[in-house]
Every structure is written in C-alpha cells, then in structure tokens.
Symmetry: C2
C-alpha cells in the first residue's frame, strides 16, 4: 500500500507558482521566493553538497519531502514549458541531467513520448491516459514506498478532487505574489476528507499537514 | 496619526467567511470554525466573563485585535444580511445590544441611515460616500488611536487596493472551507507595499503579520 502525498509551498495569498511561467521563469514571476525557506535548511544543503543550514522544524519538513518516496507524479508544466506535441526530444526537463527526484517520474500529458532516463535514478515516463493510470503505474513502480505529487497546481487539484490523496502538506510562506497559479482552486467545494494533523512554524514558513480522515 | 489595521482569520484555502451567509449563518456555512482559536484564548474568555483559557501566542494576538483601537470600519455584510435600502430601522446588527467594538463603527453602505448608538460605547455610523470618507471619519473619531477594518472580505480588499493599510494581520487556521469569501481576491496583483514582520503559530493557528514597507 503506497501513501499518495502532496507536498507544496504556497504564498499566503494562495499561489504555488507566479504568473507568466516561461523558460526564463520556470516558477513564474516572483515564484522563486516560495522556496527560499527550503534552500536554507540543513537537509537541502547537505543534499546539494553545501555546509551550514539549521536543523529546525523547517529542516524536518524539507527532509520529509522526498523521504520514502518510490515514485513521483507531475503535471506537464512541471516538466517543461513546451505545449502541444513534442516537436523533438531535445527538451529534457527543467531539472538538469540529474533531477532531484531519483525515482521514476510520471508526467501527465496528452502527447506520447518514449521514457527518458536521466542520471541519478530519475526516469521520466509520459502518461497519456489520465491521473488514475498515472497513479496505478506510480504505485507499481514505488513498490510499497510513497507516491509524491510533485505539482503543479493543476495536477494537485485533479488528485485532490479524486479523493485519492492520503496526505497533504502545505508550506505557507509570508510572501504575497498577487498573481499566479492557485493551489486551492477548481476544487468544487473540496478538498474533503482530509483532517489537520499538524501545524508548526518557523519565522520563515508555517507547515500545515493533513491526513485522510479515518 | 492613526494606524490603519486589518486583522482577519482565514482558512488555509483562503476564505474569511463560508458560503451562503444568512440570518442563521452570519459567518456562512462552516464559518464558525474560523474563530474557534480565538474563543479558546484567555483574553477572549476574560473579556466575556469566563474563566480559563491559556496565555499562548494566540492569546497575544487575540488581545491585540482590539488593543488601542479608537474606531472600526466594516462592510455592510458585517453589519447585517439586509440588502438594498433600510426597510425599517429594526435591524441593529449581528452583534447584540452590546457589540464587541466599544468604539464608533463606520459601516460602508450605499444607503443612508441615522447613527445607531448601542450599549458599551459602540455607535454605528452609516457612510455612503466611499472608503476614503469612512477612513477620514474613523481617523477623526479615533483621536490618535488605531483604526481597525473589521471586515468582511470586500471592505478589506478595497482598503488593501487603496494602499492606505499600515498593518495586515492574517490568522490562518487549518480549516478547509472549500467555498466562501476569499480575502486575497479582486486585488489586481496586490497587495503591494506590505512586508512580513512576524510569523508565529500554535497548533491551532498561524499568525502572519505585515507592516507597510518603510
């Protein structure tokens, strides 16, 4: 039994990415401010071969982000800015040759493409037959470990609407982006069936964690 | 110089009131869950003649809500469910004969009505010539003390858009309302000019405080 998790950072005004995402602005305008809290943590710095950082409550959440993750699911915008069919296979993702996932990654798209193996254990699989198929494939690949929804907003919303999410963690930063992609949107009154299990904060970010109601 | 403050509680998914506000549901469906954190604080309980409650960080914020407030401004929905012209003067607000404001309260409305004096120092004044007029009247009445925007979402948005707000405090509770009145909406890319000055949390609520950028 894999646990299906969503773990995303949101501005206080509700955005998980800024507006006008592009090749130069993968997180949208101002979006990089969302993730500063994570870059300051000890576990992030260790993972990237840097010294320093503090072992705070933020560090616990930064470390938990990819702990025990066996497979990742993401929307197409999280893989790249290209729309429509894959014109060629040159685009290999935002993430460089060694993406931070180190697992199979299932990319939701309407356009078929052969799997793409990167360094460090990340292989991108392109799934064209919907979120339940992507989840089934991710669960099989995860082999008992967790399946993480890597974002973005639209992919998270589709899984929240499906009622299949076991755990939702939202890191709220005191940033006011003003525009962008809202996490809690297009949810038809949801999410439902999730109950709060933890709220803790540092001066930089408040962590809200929910679990599926028993 | 009065400080213009907004101080509101919001669900994690962005709502400061539930949907379908009515005589029976002044906070909208589910909206009462927003304010449970405040009812548990020592200062709220003392103010209402009850014993108990804990002197937590939440208590500090609950106490600060109406500290040094000399006048209050609110949107019409915060005064009552009546729309259009005042049919009669029977409606005296949601708040009972001794409203919790204990100051002059300026109600934004399109429809004139004579001032309404309640017990405990609250007098409702009905302002029909816009938010700047309401603010000028509130500042005069506050006599150097703070002016508090009491809500709701629309009134808060109008003042945030005006750039006149000196201090914004948002209490975020781990409630998912799904529908209702969003605080951060209709803001045309704003709010701008506010910088974060504090983020603290209890297990019940995270307090985000902003001040006008220097």
């Amino acid at each position: 039994m894999s646990t299906l998790r969503i773990d995303m950072t949101m501005s206080l005004d509700g955005y998980v990415a800024g507006p006008d995402q592009s090749l130069d602005d993968p997180l949208g305008k101002g979006g990089e401010a969302l993730h500063e809290w994570m870059l300051a943590t000890q576990s992030w710095r260790e993972r990237h071969g840097q010294e320093g950082g503090e072992a705070t409550v933020d560090d616990r959440y930064a470390a938990a982000w990819n702990e025990n993750v066996g497979a990742t699911i993401m929307g197409r915008n999280m893989f790249g800015p290209i729309r429509g069919s894959w014109q060629d296979d040159e685009w290999r993702g935002w993430w460089g040759e060694d993406p931070p996932y180190h697992t199979p990654v299932f990319v939701l798209t309407h356009h078929e493409r052969a799997p793409l193996a990167m360094e460090g254990g990340t292989t991108f699989h392109f799934v064209t037959d919907g979120i339940e198929s992507a989840l089934a494939q991710a669960v099989a690949a995860a082999d008992g470990k967790d399946v993480l929804i890597g974002g973005g907003a639209s992919a998270a919303q589709q899984y929240l609407l499906s009622g299949l999410v076991d755990e939702l963690t939202v890191h709220v930063v005191p940033v006011l982006l003003g525009r962008g992609e809202r996490l809690f949107d297009h949810l038809d009154g949801g999410p439902v069936g999730l109950e709060p299990v933890e709220l803790v904060a540092s001066p930089a970010v408040a962590h809200f964690r929910y679990a599926r109601a028993g």
